[in-house]
Symmetry: C2
């Protein structure tokens, strides 16, 4: 079954807020075997809302909306829904009771605006919002369904999971199954990978689809299959996964979709190793990426960001000879940084970087984007000179990703 | 003028990737005085692409698309555009030359798929993509314009800024002048600020608009004026800016829209001071934010990310008594971290953090989201306990922003 999503809010059209609701809904609708056919982002504008509902019902039987249910003047979704589905605004004592409970839990007082949340169109069935004051509204119209949910991601996520999704499944009970498999691939450009997989791709059954999702330094490959025959789907997906494994082998660093820093974390935890970083041009971004993963304190001990040469010498023990003779952006310095941090932090593994992120500071010999990166595990050390194109942000991002991947490779080769 | 955006890619409809292009475009289209009327997110599907173009042209004269221009089989935007605008696929030697340059810069080799990027619909005018291999295509149709751009955010952002936006402005050339003034305000909630500015807002001329753009910890206030009378526009904007300055005074930390870490950098440079950080729960993110600013090596010396208690003791000199008696998340520890890092790095200023980013590790006394933050400048030190709601990412973000703002206030009060 196809569904449509309408995301409502002026703040989205001026780029002030990035919509994450539609992605969340898509990720949770997908495993049921439903497809998001389209997502429309529109402003808090009655004409636009009515037009969007009309267009969505023309192509799908289920429409989910988020946003525009707040208590302030600019939120008009509820009234627009009433216009579309008919009926009048009525006071709902159950909603008022729920709003009072939510407001009390937050130690707030109810005001006129919040109290008005208890008025809902008579044409809807209310699903009580247990984590916010805006009631969720279920409308039916010619065997089609629209569910209007709040714009606050936390509220929509909680209520989708607890109430809306189970009720939708009950209502539409699907007989199709969907399966995804994601593979994170390194050492290939997108086009080189496509050439490598040409024969494999030609042999994929029609009902399974292969997508390439490149990111700097990695490509995520995604197989998606949909079928009413669950057993056949699983068997075919297993077969294709094994084939991919055989063709790409060592270049697949994960059989699950997760951040590269989490893949590194899994390896470190499995091998009971600890890691630190010594960062110059990446300025702490590698440590930041490692610590974005919950539970990283199991294997991450700490980091020294040695931006100045003084700190490289005094804290990490980089030699003044190396700094003078070869410069801060050199193999010797990046290796000394790596060894220094591992010793200081008492870790077996370490990643270090020294480079010129730009826009200033480049020379003919070492242009902006030149970065030396070193990865170390026990007595094994690799270091490499890279040149990353692009802006300062991008050089920092690419160097960070490359450092993480260098250590992953070192750990996998052991 | 109204514009429409079409975002193309299967990965968006299954929620694997979050669209940031439309928000970026909206933020950059807005200052010209153009409005985003709607954003459509659709899959890599020809029928859907053709239908979306039709619908968008029905309501706006300019349509911008992103995505679906990659070299692999799943990307079909180019062929869909050719169907809509007519013509045939032709080889473009200039595009091939550009693709070769881009591929060479990345030290990659060209292959058949990348080479195929040089084929473009004869109905388009190409804008060379200087940072990627997918050519940008400019189509015109009954005085309406569609520009097809890549899905990779970096490529679209770079090329929009350098080429597409200037060419669009030239094409649709307005005779109106637009001026923006942005003020970064601290110490107010959005509603408290709105109450403070009520009289000011009532007196703003009709053709000038005031927007509140809240971010965690700060509110950006933006005045936007549009007029054919350039001199009057400037005079009115100057007058309003002075008024805002008088009303909010010390709570305005910047009269330009820039990252908070850049505002801190300006202050440090002006006062010829240097800074370091000592980070536990923020994991290097404050150092990362400081070093995202070009030229930050003038005032940023380095950082210690002391994730483990061992590193807090051995590198930063935190006392075992404080760790044992008060715990790592305490005023004494965060102050010792701050003093330790400033001494180690030889800086006058320092920011330190110690807290529980979650999801694990919380207790009744110190729940997830509890963070102690300390800022120091010379012999002046402030430290404060905070509780930030939300997920791990959000706690890290809020704690980083709060640390930067604490040091900014300390420097401004001197």
């Amino acid at each position: 079954m196809d569904i449509s999503i309408i995301v409502i809010g002026d703040e989205l059209l001026i780029g002030q807020v990035t919509d994450t609701n539609s992605g969340w809904i898509a990720r949770h609708i997908n495993p049921i075997g439903w497809n998001v056919k389209s997502i429309k982002v529109i402003g808090d504008n009655e004409t636009e809302i009515l037009k969007a509902i009309e267009e969505c019902f023309a192509q799908t039987d289920l429409v989910l909306t988020t946003g525009g249910l707040g208590p302030t003047k600019d939120d008009i979704t509820k009234e627009a829904m009433r216009k579309y589905f008919g009926g009048k605004m009525i006071f709902d004592a159950e909603v008022e009771k729920n709003v009072l409970e939510v407001v009390n839990k937050r130690h707030l007082k109810i005001n006129d605006l919040t109290a008005a949340q208890a008025y809902v169109p008579s044409s809807c069935r209310v699903i009580q919002n247990l984590v916010g004051t805006a009631p969720i509204m279920w409308f039916e119209h010619n065997a089609k369904v629209l569910v209007a949910m709040p714009g606050v991601p936390f509220e929509t996520e909680q209520m989708m999971e607890k109430e809306v999704l189970p009720q939708l499944i009950k209502h539409f009970c699907s007989n199709e199954y969907i399966e995804h498999r994601t593979f994170i691939v390194v050492d290939y450009s997108e086009s080189a990978l496509a050439i490598k997989l040409e024969k494999f791709e030609n042999d994929i059954p029609e009902y399974i689809h292969l997508a390439y999702l490149p990111r700097p330094g990695i490509i995520r490959l995604r197989l998606t299959g949909r079928s009413t025959d669950k057993a056949k789907l699983k068997a075919d997906m297993d077969y294709l996964s094994h084939q991919l494994h055989d063709i790409l082998n060592n270049c697949i660093i994960s059989y699950e979709d997760k951040p590269v820093s989490a893949i590194l974390g899994d390896l470190l935890r499995a091998k009971q190793l600890t890691v630190s970083t010594a960062e110059s041009c990446t300025g702490g971004n590698i440590a930041h990426e490692i610590t974005e993963i919950a539970g990283s304190s199991d294997y991450f001990m700490g980091s020294v960001v040695s931006y100045s040469n003084n700190v490289k010498q005094s804290v990490l023990g980089v030699s003044s000879e190396a700094l003078e003779n070869e410069g801060a952006v050199s193999r010797t310095v990046v290796e000394q940084m790596c060894n220094g941090a591992a010793k200081l932090m008492g870790t077996q593994c370490c990643i270090s970087t020294s480079g010129i992120a730009g826009p200033g500071g480049g020379s003919a010999e070492k242009p902006v984007g030149t970065v030396w990166i070193c990865a170390k595990c026990g007595d094994k050390t690799v270091s490499e000179r890279y040149h990353f194109p692009g802006t300062r942000d991008r050089v920092i991002d690419r160097a960070s990703m490359t450092g993480l991947l260098m250590l992953i490779k070192l750990l996998r080769d052991q």
